[in-house]
Symmetry: D3
């Protein structure tokens, strides 16, 4: 019965011990107040990933040339934010301790916090490169410190000034923009035109890249919890990603796909293509025999 | 500019001090692991309630004859289950202390716990009448004690044996059915044919009535988080509700409408009609001048 | 190029002069305040009708045995209720003057008014048999006399007491039920159990049959403007229709399908099957050579 | 990383060699002319199956007590009906040769043909028990012999008269009903009231049970290619299934779920519950240690 | 119970007497022939507005700094176009007579006619600045003069040549473009590149700004009645709006959002952001104490 | 009854013998493995085409000025790819033999093969101009040679090197790009910037123009089987089409609209506008009297 198959990210079929990159899903959306649904992100991407080709004509690379292990999806407890974040933290710790690069699929943006913590424990000097429509710099949200609107503020509390780049930001409180403007983060608003500047600044450093898919315009990414009109096109994002090819990305995540908000499925197709391009940029081609 | 209006439950226009019943929304769904969305229940019912008539030909009563205050919707913090439940508890406490009957619109079923606690503090002998597809008797769910699958078990911990009736139940763990069968609750499975038995048993007692709308068959209530085929028809539910007219219902709730899972809107229409019939059964006709 | 086809009601291919029944669409929904969309009823039924078989095992008759002409769909002006109703009136007048039976597909229920008027001009003693969830007996709606909630009241103004049967009614103002109860119409609420009584009463008379599809339960007819829980099942409706086979139905309509409110398409399938069964009941089998 | 999981039918975790029943998906819908989409049936059921409990209170049995292997989903070539059917045939042949009971999830109804052929080769005297809204007895469809509307006719060509029971049928050509009426199959139309008669007749024989989910009323199963109003309720189906518990079912399939036609997801929930009940009826409880 | 809230446009909480701008909804779509649904525009925007921040980083202003009163939504009679337009006219008259700036949310574009009339009575020299995909210059539509396709023609009949600017137009009859080309209106087709020219021409004059949201490309505004491919991006619109900051806008409206045509909700998000930016451009910052 | 109408492509009302162009639908999607639904393309375009104006302000031409015959939609057998393709081939042969220009509406891209064959038989030197996101150059797909992913390869087998231009391509196997790069086709990836080059090269030759609508970005064309992010905007496509006005286009098709994947309807609106612009570019203005 060798014709049978199980849902798995296409071409992500390396064994853990052979892999350079380990992909896993963290479908948590417990702190989302507005429109939930990013919990279904990993599942949807698994179902639709095979609609893509493994080959990227833009990068002239092929997923079959790199070693990616599919670690499956975490089963996270809803209603207990602390436990869910702990589970993510343990998973990423396991991956980086094994010398692999974690590639996490959200879930809401708060999942980046425990993943970043695990990476930072291993690589204390790691920097954050953050693409998003929203600042995510709130002190708290309705009194809660663990919120998707506060995730970058929490990370700043770990790494301090000068270690965070924020691109594409076009929404936030007046106070958040002011706080960033005091030099705590390098925030370049509205689009990705500062990508080259960021790459230059981060050159030679270890980088954690986090992509909130709502950095894209809602026309191409309607399936997200907090759509913010005025974002970048897919081609603008892809161009920026290409420029990140020169960075030393040790960990990455793609978050905030809420697939059921978009019946047409294009948001999931976008997320899958972003994932493919990122994997191709992070992975080193290897000889494989399949 | 007297032609202007704001969304409000139709005919629920008594002032707090004049009201017999106080309606409010508690759109919390933070512990739902499967399909979220009951957070949108109150909002959807507000938008659609005016599609109903105020008059019930089945009961031959009219909403305009009873005194209901619309208390609005609670703004609840997601990601912090404890805070959300506290806020509901304080709200219901305020209503029962003022001598009014609370009528809560969920939200997931866990919202019943803090509401029941507040009612039980005021009326220590109150009984629970529970209509649902699911037992909701788990000790915990993935280690969490505060879960919508455990809400009736938590209430049993407060009131003990002999105070809980469960009707329409058709899904649960083997252990839950066995535990109920030991006499902890009066569980009558599959349909509402035991309604008369329950009414007889609860006659003369104070009753908290909680209706999980998934007690209805998914054909008529598709918009709910955990649809369970094999439920009762709307007419069967309405007949049971009519029989509850003889009970002393001091508080009620209607939970688990997840309106965005049903684009056709019939689930919201059903929830609104259940709410109208219940209000008419709970309220005493008064002279009004509008 | 004889493989080409155009959308047409399946098997409704008689020429006007040869037809016994003439089908046409009147997709007007201009007075609907709540959820519009019955304007798309005829178009949707044309697209989906071919999903049905021509043969009814319940009736043991076949559409290919009767002579039905497809008159197409009226193009009605929105924003001018009077003009739209006039156009419908002229169309039905043309059909009855030619000695044919009109079969109209709505549109909202108000379209029945001009159609009935045309039929009544030809057959002054015609009675109305009305299946609906709603009374439709209002004097006016927000001051407007031409409203889908007033259509039966307007017809009563033409025919007077004793000529209108209303079945399945389960929603309306208290005053409407009271007014009907004074003997103006024969209103039998909630279900179709009085169908036999109606058939007996209408036996030997000319009948205009109007079916508001919301007489069905919303579980089987979610695609309608004002869904009212507690309706009849499809089998109950079909049984009643069978009993109408003994009546002298000179005109009929099926109204209030709003197909875009039901993405699944089952509402349109129901409307098409109701239409097929009705055509089979109204038509006399003829020899045909196709 | 033992918290990770991959989509698999809940509790279907026996190894092939230890299993009594082998479940697999055959998502082929290539001959569907009307509304495609049953190709997505197996995938949708895998995603949603975990919304169910493993325990059936109706049967008082638990999936954890029987040995089911999840064989995954076949990857079938579209555009070449013959190849797809061959692949299914080889798969079922492998299962029955290993002494296991195949449980196939469609796909359109044509997938039953190659599966039945494989079973019949092993058990030449096997009978077919067929639940459906449609006769499926056409000689051909637009000239094609391999069509979902002809599948039972093709099976009759293999087994001949007296070996096929058809229940719930309410749609077909006049000729099909007439042909069945000549005694070729035992067709009992409209509902499942003849289930007891069928069980009596099939008692002691090997049975292949095929369930076209459109035997259910479209109110509870809107997500199917050819919805036919007037079907049975879920409870009526469940009652019939219970009565089949006395049969010797050597193979089964559940076909025609088209999940994307039903955004609410209830059709998939129904299909999963039918599958659970059937597995519990077909499997013998075994001691298991997990 | 101060945690309770009612749906209200975020931060639009000034009292009528203190307000500079009065927002109200006019959800009329009675003359729409193609796809209705703009009647639900105001309601949807109320539900979703709180997904936005009050602060605009593009304008560096905050809604909390200006005085806006939420006047609620008009309840309009369907089926009687004249009455509905009268009600809008009276409402706007009340607002301008009180010295406030009306900000109307449609509804179809015809609602602009009675609003403009009321403003023009107060300010006889007011000019119209019109952003749209469609000319809206028809003499009549199917014989009706009061139609959303004729609204600008009707306004021209009031103000005459030289007082109307039309930007972004890309659809209409040949005659309409020809008529505009005779100098009756300043029509600049296809995009908003002529915004600077319009601003220069209108400088120092009172302006009524009407934005038909279908001026945007359907990719970012799918939820509208008559989507016309080839429109401007959100950023292009926002840039034009910024340039309008130098105009003396005495009244404004945003029309033709039909939210239920776009399940993803991005159209409503776009409409809300357009509304926020416009309010910030029209309002003068004031000291407030909340 | 001259107010009646039947669905027909607006203004495509010439008789066959008077027409310059013959439009017909070929709704076949039998080889689609991923997401079917282009079978519904022609039907959806018929329903929505009247939402467009007949006049194109970009081209300053009007559909009423050219002679187009609407040939209806082919009824194609599913499950038998060969028969379906034959039927299309015969239809196009009939059109070109009559000296008319065929304009086909898909369906999946494989329908281009039999249509091109028929045109090439008449005009042996015809070239292919191919706009698409995908290469469509596979030798086979899962062993099948007749697949929508192989259609251009099959056409190349007929015409050989130097006769095929491919624009907008951004997805395919590495081998496909390599094979094209050997000079078999003129493939210009990613966008339409090479349109001028193609026009120059094809000048003076007969051209078959095939437009796979997924050449557009999924933001504006979500309703297609295999959406590929990073495509061109509608304005970029329209500009390219304008430049094709100088070519001698003898046949054209527009394929891969899958309307039910896009509930908002914008994909169908885009397809209709592409069709209108193409018809206006292909047709010669004639005097007409209607």
């Amino acid at each position: 019965m060798n014709e049978l198959m199980l849902p798995r990210f296409m071409s992500c079929d390396a064994r853990m011990e052979d892999a350079e990159i380990v992909v896993f899903g963290a479908g948590f959306d417990g702190t989302v107040t507005y429109r939930p649904g990013s919990r279904f992100g990993p599942q949807a991407m698994r179902s639709e990933f095979y609609g893509l080709e493994t080959y990227s004509p833009m990068l002239d690379r092929d997923l079959t040339e790199i070693a990616v292990c599919d670690g499956g999806d975490l089963e996270l407890p809803f209603g207990n934010t602390g436990s869910a974040l702990d589970m993510i933290n343990r998973t990423v710790t396991g991956i980086v301790e094994a010398g692999k690069k974690p590639f996490m699929i959200g879930g809401e943006h708060l999942v980046t916090l425990p993943a970043f913590k695990a990476v930072q424990l291993k690589y204390p000097d790691v920097c954050l490169l953050h693409l998003d429509a929203h600042t995510d710099l709130r002190e708290d949200y309705l009194g809660e410190q663990l919120s998707h609107s506060s995730v970058v503020r929490r990370i700043w509390e770990i790494v301090g000034d000068g270690r965070i780049w924020q691109l594409g930001i076009r929404s936030g409180l007046k106070e958040e923009f002011a706080w960033a403007g005091e030099g705590h983060t390098s925030l370049r608003p509205f689009d990705l035109s500062a990508a080259a500047e960021a790459v230059k600044s981060l050159s030679g450093k270890r980088v954690y890249l986090t992509i909130d898919l709502d950095v894209l315009d809602p026309s191409i990414m309607p399936g997200t919890g907090t759509p913010e009109p005025g974002g970048v096109s897919f081609n603008e994002l892809q161009k920026a990603l290409c420029s990140f090819g020169r960075l030393n990305i040790v960990a990455a995540d793609v978050v905030e796909l809420a697939p059921r908000l978009d019946n047409s499925g294009i948001s999931t197709a976008v997320a899958c293509k972003v994932m493919r391009e990122l994997l191709l940029l992070m992975g080193k081609p290897v000889l494989r025999n399949d």
